[in-house]
């Protein structure tokens, strides 16, 4: 263990560089999130993830945001265990009828101001699952959605981009 820990001190981090000129996408995102998040909510923004019927593909990619390559927390964004600690609900899946009530209750448990981000193609309108007796057909049928992030599943970078777009929109709304 000692060797692994020491290596962590001496080797370059895996984390893809925040603002680095040659790293267009992620570098640009890093500085943007930082600025926008600070202006809106001080130093941090808490996210509560709710799986409302996804195939678990979106969960895999959302989880990936925590790995060393994306290191979500350096942007001041972090996942929390309770909706009561959250600013953003990140909702996946076509919202099955069996999850509708749980999603509504999670939404109500989240304090204002709050935003809802629907992640994945099926969260937009039910996607490939629309028409089934068992799905409501999209997150916006159940709770108000501020932003949709498309993809099946969206790659971690896409999810990150979406979160920034939301922050920018909120910033523009303010007088």
């Amino acid at each position: 263990m000692r060797r692994t820990l020491f290596e962590g001190l001496t080797h370059r981090p895996m984390t893809e560089a925040p603002p680095r000129l040659d790293d267009e996408v992620l570098g640009e995102l890093a500085s943007q999130v930082d600025r926008a998040a600070r202006r809106r909510l001080g130093r941090s923004l808490s996210i509560r993830e709710v799986d409302a019927g996804s195939c678990n593909g979106c969960e895999l990619e959302i989880n990936a945001l925590n790995n060393a390559f994306y290191d979500l927390e350096r942007f001041g964004l972090r996942f929390v265990a309770s909706p009561r600690h959250a600013d953003i609900l990140l909702v996946t899946g076509p919202v099955t009828k069996n999850m509708r009530e749980a999603l509504e209750r999670t939404y109500r448990a989240t304090p204002d101001p709050k935003w809802v981000v629907a992640v994945g193609d099926c969260a937009v309108d039910g996607g490939i699952f629309s028409g089934s007796y068992a799905v409501t057909g999209g997150v916006s049928n159940v709770v108000p959605v501020d932003l949709h992030i498309r993809g099946c599943p969206p790659a971690p970078t896409e999810i990150l981009k979406g979160l920034i777009a939301l922050l920018d929109a909120q910033r523009a709304d303010r007088p």
Partner: protein, 503 residues
């Protein structure tokens, strides 16, 4: 010799492939259930179907001969002899048949609904169809009796970035006396969407049954359709499918080995394993254009050929894994505080694993060596060298070690596949046709079974059985007598699919 199957008196369905399907009488149905209960055969699946008559199907594999068959029983009076009454692993499957079709398993020990949580507008949506009750019926969890017991309800919304399900713990102090899961929250009605779908759309649905096993589902579905239509994917496609399947296995095992350690509060392993997982996904994207390789396996072959620049990045990643992974294994093995949490925690006995026909690392950590790549086996694995690691301790530690050994096997398999990859076409065009097919694939979690019936270019009926069906009940057995705080650890070491189970 397939002794049980040979002895079945029943009408053989001619266009069911590659294994026989026989329409049987209730007596024969009971006889097969008895054979399974006696351990002479293992239950592979149990599902319903609507039609002129509602029908129930039961797939099994014989213990001695590894012969596979499906028996079907028509249910003109909407009832069938319960298999669960003789063989507990069938209970939830039968409850699901009742909730989805309205067919009643006569003599069943548990009549409570399954998957139907009372939120649908329609009752028995795939079969008899009736209006749902106005008032949602209450669900009675199994009773628990004893001094000073308390209950802890958890879910459906959990604390992490994971799928939803409800767990009802009854504890005495810190010790779990009983865990009962209630699942169905992510039921999407996939089998209803399958009916009437084109092969192409049905393949996309199959690929989204459980996102972490999208490649395996793609392969199992393709095997079923190809069997029904009596075609075979070209050799290059078979090798590319295997390459994707092994990448999927690697990614999941890396991710889960780390996540299990994380649930024992050992974040260092998690951090390093997440890096390896990300590298697999990036290599997959470089090779096939999608990180999870979704929709890359299609009936008839594969949708995209291996990209040349992808091979180079895959080889780089393999080199990195060969260097880094042994170090992480050593770290796991030499950290006493971590071993203290995983060793002797959440034990599944060998008998239970055998009875439930548990596959994947859950079965293999408890002495059951079943692997669909070997039995019944499918191309190209018969041309590749690999071992199926089996351990007997049955605890969290054993499940971790099986995964570690499987990582090593998958690395070797990927190297063989790259070396031996045949040239040629990557797919054949499918002409429609009528027929029925059964297909298997070994996902990282265990064997996926798909049964499909086709008419023309459309799916008439398709059933998808996730390995989790036979693993979820074992989780309840594994946690008994352990402390509540060890549940996340046990649960992660199983990592059953909610979506694959709920359909």
């Amino acid at each position: 010799m397939p002794a049980i199957i040979d002895a079945i008196a029943g009408k053989r369905i001619e266009d069911h492939r590659p294994w026989p399907r026989l329409v049987v009488t209730p007596d024969t149905w009971r006889k097969i259930a008895n054979e399974i209960a006696a351990g002479r055969a293992t239950l592979l699946g149990l599902w319903g179907e609507a039609g002129a008559f509602c029908t129930v199907h039961m797939a099994f594999i014989e213990q001695d001969s590894d012969a596979i068959a499906v028996v079907s029983l028509e249910c003109p009076d909407q009832t069938f002899p319960s298999v669960g009454a003789l063989h507990p692993p069938a209970i939830r499957l039968e409850r699901a048949i009742h909730s989805l079709y309205g067919l009643r398993p006569a003599g069943a020990p548990d009549a409570r609904p399954w998957l139907d949580l009372g939120f649908w507008d329609v009752k028995y949506p795939l079969g008899l169809r009736a209006s749902a009750a106005d008032v949602r019926p209450t669900y009675a969890f199994l009773p628990v009796e004893g001094e000073s017991l308390h209950q802890i309800p958890v879910g459906p919304v959990h604390a992490g970035i994971i799928e939803p399900g409800h767990f009802r713990f009854t504890a005495s102090g810190e010790t779990v006396v009983r865990l009962e899961a209630r699942l169905g929250y992510v039921h999407k009605g996939i089998e209803s969407l399958m009916a009437g779908a084109t092969i192409e759309r049905a393949a996309q649905l199959a690929a989204r049954t459980s996102g972490d096993s999208t490649v395996a589902y793609g392969i199992a579905f393709a095997h079923a359709v190809e069997a029904a239509l009596q075609v075979k994917a070209p050799p290059r496609a078979q090798y590319l499918r295997a390459l994707m399947a092994e990448l999927e296995r690697l990614a999941n095992h890396f991710g889960d080995i780390g996540a299990i350690c994380n649930d024992a509060s050992f974040a260092l392993m998690h951090a390093h394993c997440s890096i390896l997982r990300e590298m697999v996904l990036r290599a997959a994207a470089a090779c096939f254009g999608h990180r999870l390789m979704m929709d890359r396996v299609v009936p008839g072959g594969v949708a995209t050929d291996l990209r040349l620049d992808g091979v180079a990045s895959l080889k780089d990643a393999l080199k990195h894994f060969r260097r880094r992974f042994p170090r992480l294994v050593e770290l796991y093995d030499n950290t006493a505080s971590l071993q203290d949490r995983t060793a002797s925690t959440g034990i599944v006995g060998a008998e239970l694993a055998q009875q439930f026909g548990a596959s994947g690392y859950v079965g293999r950590a408890s002495g059951r060596d079943f692997d669909a790549r070997k039995t019944p086996g499918y191309a190209p694995y018969h041309e590749l060298e690999f071992d199926v690691p089996v351990l007997t301790a049955g605890d969290v530690n054993a499940r971790v070690w099986v995964r570690i050994r499987e990582v090593e096997q998958s690395l070797a398999l990927i190297e063989q596949i790259i070396e031996r990859l045949p040239s040629g076409p990557i797919a054949i065009a499918l002409e429609g046709g009528a027929g029925e097919g059964l297909g298997f694939a070994e996902s990282f979690r265990g064997d996926v079974l798909v049964a499909a019936r086709l008419d023309g270019a459309r799916i008439v009926r398709c059933h998808l059985r996730d390995p989790s069906w036979f693993q979820w009940p074992l989780l309840e057995a594994a946690i008994e007598g352990n402390i509540v705080a060890d549940f996340p650890l046990c649960n992660k070491s199983f990592n059953c699919s909610y979506s694959g189970h709920d359909l």
